[in-house]
Structures are given as C-alpha cells and as structure tokens.
C-alpha cells in the first residue's frame, strides 16, 4: 500500500496503468485502460497508511461505497472498486475539464459567469441531494464541468449517504471538511443537513465573485465557530459592480443558521438563473460588516445561536415547494385566467409555504421578426407586467411569487422543461377546448416530473 508500489505499465485487476495524471496528498490519479472500456477512465488510488491515519482509510471506504451508489451526469460514472485489503482503488470515468479551482484565478469572474456556473453547480448539488447524498466537502477543487452548463462533483471521501451506515461518523465525531468552506453545523459534528452544502456553495460563489474566500482559509477547525457571529465582508465592498441580487444570494447561502439559508439546492439554482426576480433585502445592499456593537452582541449570543443551529439541523428543512402556473396572456382568454387563478388558490391552500412560479411561454414563431431587439424587449416587459397583474389578486408576499418568460417553439415542451429544470412540485395549466388542446394536455401530463392540474372552462373561444 505504499506509493512506490504503483508504476506505469502495471496491471491491477485488468486495468493497465498508463500515466499518472495527478499526485495529491492523499491519493494518486492514474489514467488506466482496459479492453472493454468504451470511455476514458481513471483510477484513484490512495496512499493508505493504516497505522498513521485511520480516518483516511475510512474516508476511502466511504468514497468507494458512495461512488458505487451514484449515477447521472453530475458525477463521474463509476466502473469498479478495488479490495481495500489488497489494493484499494476506484476506477471511474475521466472528466476532462479543469477543476473550478484551476479556473479561478486571482481575478474575480464576471457576474454573469458566476450566476451561470453557480446555477450549474447548484443543479449538480440538487441531483446529488436527490440521490440522498450530502457532499460535505464541496470546494472548487472538487467541481469540474462537462460543459459550461453541466457541473460534475467529485471526491466523496467525507460524504454521507442518508440510507447507508455513516462509517465516518462512527470513527470520529470530530468535524471534518475544508475549513474555508465549512458550515457552522459541521463544526458541531452534524452530518445530516443538506444545507451545509449550500453554505459551502455560498462560500464558493463568494470566491468566484470576489477572488477571495469569505472567511480566509483558517488553519484550525475551531476558527469555523467564528462564522456564527462574525459576518464576511459584503462581496460588493470588494467588487463594487456586483449586482445586489448576487450579493443577496451569496449572503443568504452564508447565513449561520440553516433555516435562514435556501431550503434546497433547487431553490438556489432558481434564483441564480433568475437574478432579476430575487427579492433584494438589506443583505443584498449591505456595504459594511456588522459594527463592533452588533458583533459583540452576536458573540455573547453565540452559544444560543449554536443551539439554534443544532436544532435547525436536526429537523427537516422548511418545505418550500414550487407551484408552476402556465398563464396564457392572450386577451380573449379572460375566463380561463380566472379559472387558473381559482385553481392556483386551491393548490396553494394544500401546499403551505409554496412558491408560485408564473410562467408565460412565448412561441418563438410568434415573436415578431425584424427589429427584434427593441420590439422583443417591449414584449418581454409587457408580458411580465401582465403576469404580475394576473397574480395580483392572490396577494402573495414578495419572494413567494416569481414571474418567468421563456421562449420555446413548443408550449408544452417549454412548460415541461421549466418544470424539470426547477424541480417543480405541481404544474397548473389551462387548456382551451379542441383537438390541438388534448395533444398539449397529453404532452404536459406525460412529460412533467410531478402532478399536473389541467384547468378547463366551457367554450371560451370558438376553435
């Protein structure tokens, strides 16, 4: 199990070691080949010194166990695990792209790129969480991209699978992770709150936007405790042109108490994709850190805050389901819009705390051509205004209703894509009578990832 054992040209369980791609502190990454492999694969082989570091061994076991359970585009495809008592290794798909760490220079990223890459990472994280896995060591070095919109998460050595025994927790209840990105509840040894990953992603977004880490890179885990009372420098202080919405998103992720962060990665992704719709509070406009007086009060309260964090982490996050209502704004569909409003009221009544996403799909063939910019812009503004007017009677508080305009050649496909991308919990769609309508209904009900309420009214318009 020593480093010297592995050399190029060796064959392990049929995998031929071709080239060492990376030599890290804990493991080496080798490009390997085997005749039946149809994709480029790598072998991750740890340097295990059992006498020296038991947690390292457990971490590799955890990674082997969890990699074998994961699937989808947001993780490397798993190929094989090596017997931990003989030659431990994991063979997996090789992800070509540079890591986010390599992409991040000293220069901050453009805000638009922070938003789009951030949304891609949040989406990948949401997929991981859907598979019942908490990463718990999310950092730029563990994030790669298949393409700018598809993030891949790696390194599950500190991760937790909700339905498998937690080998790591068993070995040591001491906090583990990378201190620069670690959430306060991880300092308490809590490994069950998915929002810990959202805190880490907030720290990553901060770094992408400003070029520096929000809490520096403290040496000791004890320094993580400071995050409970000491707030980071507002990112716009370092980067004056930063949109307030982005600061709002970042600082919401970095809230010490999990209940004040986003409840899910999907919610975060939705905000990153739609910064115009983010409700900017004092958090987004803040220019200064909390003053000495506030800091002192927070410091004195920090024990109570830690108790609050522990309590929040031990119960499920407040559920904030998303209800999507597809609204057709054509003037002759007034009765339909009224019926949709009534349907929205009853669905909202059954899903307390839900967020209403009002969606208008513009058929691309209907968008006027010629002078598209000016005309298109106007149409967009008007459509959003019409959506606002439609939802106005619901009297929903800000933040509980969002408005979206998308272009698609096919209305049903637009609705379904939006529902999938944002992990919508319920779709409400109005369908006028007629043969073309039944096709639309079928496309939406069969394609949507959730329940669908189809609203019908009597003859609204002659078909």
């Amino acid at each position: 199990m020593a480093k010297a054992l592995l050399t190029a040209g060796m064959t392990i369980d049929g995998f031929r070691l071709e080239e060492r791609l990376h030599l890290g502190g804990m493991a080496a990454i080798w490009r390997v080949s085997r005749d039946d492999m149809t994709m480029p694969v790598v072998m991750k082989a740890p340097f295990l010194d059992i006498k020296g570091n038991l947690s390292q061994l457990v971490g590799f076991e955890v990674e082997q166990m969890i990699m074998a359970e994961l699937s989808g585009v947001h993780v490397p495809r798993f190929v094989a695990n090596g017997d931990i008592t003989v030659q431990p290794y994991i063979v997996m798909e090789q992800i070509a792209g540079p890591t986010l760490k390599e992409m991040l220079g000293a220069e901050p990223m453009a805000a638009a790129e922070v938003l789009s890459r951030g949304a891609a990472i949040a989406t990948a994280l949401g997929d991981l969480h859907q598979q019942n896995v908490l990463h718990l060591d999310l950092k730029p070095a563990n994030i790669l991209f298949r393409d700018p919109d598809t993030a891949v998460l790696v390194d599950f050595g500190l991760s937790r699978h909700e339905h498998l025994p937690d080998l790591f927790n068993e070995h040591s209840r001491k906090p583990a992770g990378t201190t620069a990105y670690m959430a306060p509840e991880q300092y308490l040894g809590i490994r069950t709150d998915k929002r810990s990953d959202l805190f880490a992603l907030g720290a990553i977004l901060y770094q992408m936007a400003t070029g520096v880490q929000p809490f520096g890179s403290p040496k000791g885990v004890a320094q993580v405790r400071r995050r409970v009372w000491r707030d980071p420098v507002p990112p716009s202080r370092l980067r004056p042109d930063l949109p307030p919405a982005l600061q709002e998103i970042i600082l919401k992720c970095l809230e010490p108490v999990p209940d004040r962060r986003y409840a899910t990665a999907e919610e975060l992704a939705l905000d990153l994709r739609n910064p115009d719709l983010v409700e900017v509070t004092e958090r987004g406009r803040r220019q200064e850190r909390a003053d000495a007086g506030i800091q002192l009060r927070r410091l004195l309260r920090s024990r109570a805050t830690l108790r609050e964090i522990r309590a929040a982490a031990s119960k499920p996050p407040p559920r904030a389901p998303i209800i999507l209502v597809a609204v057709d704004v054509r003037p002759d569909l007034e009765r339909m819009r009224h019926a949709l409003l009534e349907a929205a009221v009853s669905v909202l009544a059954n899903m307390p705390g839900a967020r209403l996403a009002c969606l208008n799909v513009m058929q691309t063939s209907l968008v006027p051509s010629g002078n598209v910019d000016a005309a298109g812009e106007n149409i967009h503004v008007n459509r959003i205004a019409e959506l606002r007017a439609w939802a106005e009677p619901l009297q929903l508080p800000r933040g509980k209703v969002t408005y979206h305009l998308i272009e698609s050649r096919n209305i049903a496909a637009g609705v379904v894509d939006f529902a999938r991308a944002n992990k919508v919990d319920h779709v409400v769609v109005g369908v006028p009578g007629g043969a073309s309508a039944s096709k639309l209904t079928m496309q939406i009900t069969s394609g949507a990832p959730c329940s669908v309420t189809v609203v019908r009214v009597g003859d609204d318009r002659a078909e």
Binding site: L54, M65, E162, H163, L164, P165, D166
Partner: protein
C-alpha cells in the same frame, strides 16, 4: 444467490404469506428462518407446517425463545406471551412440537451466522437493541455477517476498531452494501409483529454475490389477523399491536 430472511413470524399467516410472495417475486432462491415461528399469533400449526415443508426442501431454520417455550414451560416470558404460548401448545400436534423442539440454536453457512437473539449466548435470549449487545455478539463469533431477530425492530451494526458498533436504522427497500472487509450484525425486523411503529411486515433480502442486504417492508391486511386473535380469545393487546406496529 438471493437469500430471504424471516424473523419472528409469530404464527401470523397473513404476514408470512405476503412476505413469501414478495420474496418469490424478488427472485429469492433460499429461505432462512431466524426463530419464533410461533407465539402471539393465531395460526401456529399452519406456519409450522409451512416452514417444515420448506426446511424439507433445503430451507434453514433456527430456534426462537417462543418456539422453545412450547416444550419448556420454564422459559421466561411476559404474561401475555405466556398466555399465548399456553394456547399455542394446544394447537400443535406431536410432530409439530417435535419439529420446533429439534430446531438448532444457531447455524453457520459460509461466512454467515444465523441465530435468533444474539451470537453471545443464543439460548439466553438477550435482545440486540444497541451497540453494547452488538459488541458482545461480535466478540462471540468469527463469522463476517450475523443475522438475527428477536427485537422486532430492524437494525444494522458494523464492527468498529475504535468504538462500539454504531447503530444504523435501515430504510425500507434500500439495499445496503455490507462491505466485504468489515463485519456486520443485521437484526431483521419481525414478519409477524413489527414494533417500530410501522405495521407492515418486515423481512430481509441478502444477495450473496454483491453482499447487499435490504430490509423489505410488505403491507398486508393486519386486520384479518387481528380479528382472528380476538375471535380465538387471545389477549386483545396482541391484536392492537398488529394494527399499529407498536
């Protein structure tokens, strides 16, 4: 090979039939009975006959404390269990009673140990409820995986070099890899009388090749069994237990 593991059937025909059908549908090729075929429930003769027929065809079965108590009135049971066993005794013929009396306290198969309560002292009937009991059980066997029952609550322990074996409460129907270089103790929940507030019958499926274990939950019509319990004059508390899994 896929092994179906049944603990604590407790003469509950409806739950047992539902689990057998589910195991067959999942492709089970081997059947192991982890004790307490009888006691509490209304169909002891039917269950014993069925298990005996399966054992004749190669299934394995070990002794449970209720099974032993049929012929050994000295075995300690709580008053309700004692009343149920007294009734059970009258329901079984000599052949059925002999089958129960001759069940072995434990069985080894490849790297697995099958026992009703605990490897430490199979006939002391200690409940494997937490890390301490699990630790004692690990010390008493060299086998890699121990399967037991007796507590009526599904649980999984893995041996640790640095601490008592931590308890994992398994989620239903989620296969768990029993990592090959570690040792494991799986406490199957009860087929015939779950006590983890989930009245669905519980049994295990273990795939030998991949070393994956899942704790399956099978809903069945517990009211049918509960009505039989009441009609036969068995303690009413036993009927209530079936309906709410307490």
């Amino acid at each position: 090979m896929l092994i179906a593991l049944f603990a604590d059937i407790h003469a509950n025909r409806e739950a047992f039939e539902a689990c057998l059908a589910d195991a067959r549908a999942n492709g089970a090729e081997r059947y192991v009975f982890l004790g307490d075929l009888v006691g509490y429930g209304p169909d002891p003769a039917w269950v014993v006959d069925r298990v005996r027929a399966m054992v004749d065809e190669g299934a394995l079965a070990v002794l449970g404390n209720h099974d032993a108590a049929v012929d050994q009135p000295g075995i300690r049971l709580n008053p309700i269990a004692r009343a149920a066993i007294a009734w059970t005794r009258g329901q079984l013929d000599d052949g059925q009673r002999r089958f129960l009396a001759e069940l072995p306290p434990d069985l080894n198969e490849d790297d697995r140990l099958y026992v009703h309560a605990n490897a430490e002292a199979p006939e002391d009937w200690v409940y494997t409820l937490g890390p301490k009991e699990a630790h004692a059980s690990f010390r008493a066997t060299a086998q890699r995986v121990t399967f037991c029952g007796h507590t009526h609550r599904p649980a999984l322990f893995n041996e640790s070099a640095s601490s008592l074996p931590p308890l994992h409460t398994p989620a239903a129907g989620r296969p768990i890899p029993l990592l090959a270089h570690r040792r494991w103790l799986a406490v199957l929940g009860a087929v015939g009388q779950p006590r983890d507030y989930n009245p669905a019958a519980c049994y295990g499926l273990y795939d030998v090749a991949s070393s994956r274990l899942s704790f399956e939950r099978v809903p069945y019509d517990a009211d049918v069994t509960a009505r039989k319990v009441i009609a036969l004059g068995l303690p009413v508390a036993l009927a209530i237990r079936l309906s709410n899994g307490s």
